[in-house]
């Protein structure tokens, strides 16, 4: 299997879907002639031309809304937000139009759109550029939200998201774009709503999504090598739909849970998962559920301090040890 970058895996997904379906278009700021602010769309404009890959002005409300309108008519836009943090500028279009159109039309209209881009802290760009809005958007019935952690997951989930007939919010990560993982040459798809056990274990479940799943994996290695604790790591991959079965299965296996989540704690994805576990698997728990989230303040710029604000391997390890 080839070892390729996360960005390249996404790029392959776009190219394959553009070739498969004439209704697929890539739109966004700098996605075409500039080759993408993070080079995720590199080479696609040159290969497929301006009809399929086009640069928009810095005008999120209009171009996201335009994509929603086009999707209503059967076009399948894949739209880049240079940062998911900028979804605030287009929030009405995402929440009220993409999210509600099917319901309010009694099912007469659907909206097969993908909104994508990076949603993460850790790059010292300050509070306005460091949001992780998967919890804001998963809170809207009508929207779907996925957060792939690896190149393999990113490609398989992106191809599925493009073919899905509902609006999918696809959250990537600037710090992962350059990381390499094994990705098969042959075509594959990963369904939305399927979590992935990234590491088998028996003593405790670390449940995470996005980059936090990788933090959890590193923490699991430390727990194993230094503390003789065998942690299972469950990567949610998809927030809505959510793989409830996989969550309950790991809880029933290990009886202890720490959720690792880059969201700020209030109404975080991990808060929803926590409530789900206590509702459905309370008797299987041997200890209270704990969480490691981003520290609950606006994202700090100062590079050394921002490292501490995000979930860290050390904080995850400490949290697990505190439960012993």
């Amino acid at each position: 299997m080839a070892l390729i970058e996360y960005r390249e895996a996404l790029n392959q997904a776009f190219a394959e879907e553009i070739e498969r379906d004439p209704n697929v278009v890539l739109l966004g700021e700098e996605v075409a002639e500039y080759d993408g602010a993070y080079k995720v769309t590199r080479g696609l404009w040159k290969k497929y031309g301006s009809k399929r890959v086009a640069d928009t002005p810095i005008s999120e409300a209009a171009f996201i809304g335009m994509g929603v309108g086009a999707a209503m008519l059967g076009v399948r836009p894949v739209m880049e937000l240079m940062f998911w943090s900028f979804c605030t500028v287009a929030y009405d279009q995402i929440v009220n139009n993409a999210g509600q159109i099917r319901y309010m039309s009694g099912g007469l209209i659907n909206c097969p759109i993908v909104l994508r881009g990076p949603a993460n802290g850790g790059t010292n760009v300050g509070a306005t550029h460091s949001h992780t809005p998967e919890n804001w958007l998963a809170a809207i019935p009508g929207l779907k939200v996925v957060c792939p952690a690896t190149a393999y997951d990113a490609k398989g989930l992106m191809k599925t998201a493009i073919r899905d007939n509902d609006p999918v919010m696809f959250m990537e990560n600037t710090t992962l774009y350059g990381e390499k993982w094994e990705v098969p040459e042959e075509e594959y798809l990963i369904p939305l709503g399927k979590a992935d056990i990234k590491r088998e274990g028996s003593d405790i479940s670390l449940i995470a999504h996005g980059r936090s799943a990788l933090i959890a994996l590193k923490a699991a290695e430390v727990l194993a090598s230094e503390h003789n604790i065998n942690a299972e790591v469950l990567d949610l991959r998809s927030i809505r739909p959510l793989d409830e079965e996989a969550i309950l299965n790991t809880v029933r296996k290990t009886h202890r849970v720490v959720l690792v989540d880059e969201n700020k704690p209030f109404c975080a994805v991990s808060a929803q998962v926590t409530t789900l576990i206590q509702e459905k698997a309370f008797d299987d728990l041997d200890a209270p559920i704990h969480r490691v989230c981003s520290l609950d303040a606006p994202q700090i710029y100062s590079p050394e301090l921002e490292k501490l604000q995000l979930p860290t391997v050390e904080r995850v390890v400490q949290k697990v040890l505190s439960m012993a």
Binding site: G65, L73, M104, I109, N110, D166
Partner: protein, 369 residues
């Protein structure tokens, strides 16, 4: 409150103005076509009168009811020009557009009553009528929020290689929303065949035009900054509405260029039904009466057709009583229709779940107990 660009026409002068009656698109109208336009306006008005009386009973409807009465010529005139690849999207004052696009009174009234037989199965309500099979894309509740959608529909038409356009309506209160300005920029930049129609009734809820908008000549003239053609239309004259809108449609079809039209009009009722200040508050009762007396689009069209020898009192009464009957029958249909089932709360959220696809069966989509 007329838009500054619009000449202050009266009923008398209008009947004597042949200019727009002579426009090619109007010369094509047969006597029956002209009566159909009258019928459409009367149907919209009668539908809303019956809706209002049912709203006031306080048992059938909730929420809002934004009445279009006084503005009927705008939707009727503009939509009468559309072909198979032309589309319509509007804001929340949308009953007139829906009916003009060919939706039935039954499905619209039942929607107001929150019934399962409503166009949106009782899930949308007054502000959210839809009929994509008739190229009618709603019915949108957030002021200006539909302006990028109209852009997207027109983009979609162009993307598919079709010769068509999208008429995207909004009120004068929507012109200060950023989304509208961003949309105009994109429409011009990308040659998108969208026609923005500002239905200027002079008031954004209780705030008059002069208290809400800064402009030099008129609202539509702002489009000049985006290099978009624009025009101002006296909305009380169906001939003028049709003639000038047709120019915009031709531009969209032949040049794939957008247009902004400002159509001067007036609403007789409040912003929504519960708008206690619309009479004697933010506007004088005398102003409302003057518009009803001198500028009513149905009355003016009626006079036109009478002068042209097409319409008699007898024919008009027949048209009106048929429309009244149709509206009352729609209310009866709505009243007798079943409510949606509680389980229906969860349908029409996700396509994949509704269609029971593999994607719809994978993972948890709803988070109730």
């Amino acid at each position: 409150m007329t838009a500054p660009c619009a000449p202050d026409k009266t009923m008398e002068t209008l009947a004597e103005t042949p200019t727009f009656a002579d426009a090619e698109i109007n010369r094509k109208l047969s006597a029956d076509d002209k009566l159909d336009l009258l019928r459409e306006m009367v149907r919209i008005r009668q539908f809303e009168m019956v809706a209002l009386s049912n709203f006031q009973k306080g048992i059938h409807m909730g929420g809002f009811l934004h009445l279009y009465i006084g503005q009927e010529s705008v939707a009727t005139g503009t939509i009468s020009l559309l072909g198979d690849n032309d589309h319509v999207i509007t804001a929340y004052r949308n009953h007139g557009h829906a009916l003009a696009c060919g939706m039935s009174m039954n499905e619209c009234m039942a929607e107001l009553f929150g019934k399962a037989t409503g166009c949106s199965k009782g899930k949308g309500g007054s502000m959210h009528f839809f009929a994509p099979d008739k190229n009618y894309w709603g019915g949108h509740g957030i002021v200006g929020g539909q302006t990028p959608l109209g852009l997207g529909i027109a983009y979609g038409v162009k993307y598919k290689g079709l010769k068509g356009c999208c008429l995207c309506y909004m009120g004068d209160g929507a012109v200060n929303q950023g989304a509208f300005h961003e949309s105009q920029n994109l429409a011009s930049l990308w040659d998108i065949p969208v026609i923005y129609i500002i239905e200027n009734n002079g008031y954004s809820m209780g705030t008059s035009l002069s208290r809400s908008s800064a402009y030099k000549k008129c609202l539509a003239a702002r489009a000049e900054a985006y290099n978009i053609e624009w025009d101002v239309i006296n909305g009380e004259d169906l001939y003028e509405v049709r003639a000038k809108t047709q120019i915009a449609i031709d531009r969209a079809h032949n040049e794939s260029r957008p247009t902004v039209l400002e159509i001067d009009t007036y609403r007789y009722y409040g912003h929504s039904v519960s708008d206690a200040k619309h009479k004697g508050g933010y506007r004088d009762e005398e102003e409302i009466e003057r518009y009803k007396r001198d500028h009513d689009p149905i009355q003016l069209w009626k006079n036109r057709l009478t002068t042209e020898g097409i319409l008699t009192d007898e024919i008009f009464q027949k048209i009106e009583s048929e429309a009244k009957q149709e509206a009352r029958a729609a209310a009866k249909f709505a009243e007798e229709s079943p409510l949606p089932e509680p389980a229906d709360i969860f349908s029409d959220v996700y396509y994949e779940v509704d269609k029971d696809t593999e994607a719809g069966r994978t993972g948890r989509h709803f988070f109730n107990d």
